[in-house]
Symmetry: D2
């Protein structure tokens, strides 16, 4: 992921865009892209999105997620692994198995 | 990233959750988490979010982005690099430098 | 609001779109439009959005909110008034005055 | 709708919250609530959300949409009617009938 992060930083710095990339606007941008990703699925059966559209919008979501992580100095792999550990405690296998309920309702 | 992907799949399969994880619901889940991430910034100055809250919500966004990529067999690093290339064409340095305008308005 | 609701229903039925307007997709559509609304504010100072863009996207958000209310038979004015009452209990004036904290943190 | 708007303003002013309610944060708040609304539908069939949860979250979306309209001096009924007119031009009945395609693809 380091190479990708490096390319994202260079793309941003070549355009002098760091001045716009405060954490709040990066989170807003990520949310906008999450909406564009949703658009690939709108009015459609769960598996019927155009994969090319999904790929493009998902790449945008990931790019902003990486830039936001970078703004805080997070290691993306580490924070996801930590979250999985926390979720293992919130969703014990014997209670959560086969259930789509939120942990607060298990 | 392969190790993280492996842990996400195992977490899901230990709980028999693949049945819920169709692409549309994964995109919906990602969008919900993007909203929770935004909440860390609400009514606050651009840099004033609680980093721990940002870390947790960003990890959730990343987890769903990875699961959705996996559902389509995408390589996350590859799709982000491809998108950067496409954006290099949409935002030529000489036109985009120092400007926050969308490519359609450059 | 009844006249607006009537026009929305007619617009939909003239195009035979009720078949697509299940509650889940209406909520997805609303969320997409909320993202497009956010786009009017991206990389900008809090008051610097283009009001015409805000007006258009806000109208889309409202249209889907009204259609979703209608799908459940809700009276939009009544549900907002009820929510204000619930919020008056969650945010007592003496505790909430001048504070942007969430009720769970007051 | 005027009575609802009046109650929303009073709720806000009793708590001295106008200082937080700049247009950008109101749009962010609306987007967060749109995400909470989506949560009522997550991992579920299109009609299987809990109507009480939908009602509450939809009321929050509407409340922020009204406050944002008010910040710009928009008349909510007028802007929705205007948008319907614009959509009538973008989606002519003979082309759009029975189709879920976006106007750019019709």
């Amino acid at each position: 992921m380091d190479q990708v992060m490096q390319r994202l930083r260079q793309f941003r710095d070549d355009r002098d865009w760091k001045q716009f990339h405060n954490p709040k606007d990066l989170a807003v941008a990520l949310s906008i892209e999450a909406g564009e990703l949703l658009e690939a699925f709108l009015w459609k059966a769960p598996e019927a999105a155009n994969p090319e559209k999904v790929k493009e919008e998902l790449a945008d979501v990931l790019a902003y997620a990486l830039l936001l992580s970078d703004a805080y100095g997070f290691d993306v792999q580490k924070i996801v692994l930590e979250k999985i550990e926390r979720n293992e405690a919130k969703y014990p296998i014997d209670k959560a198995r086969g259930s789509a309920k939120k942990y607060t309702e298990l």
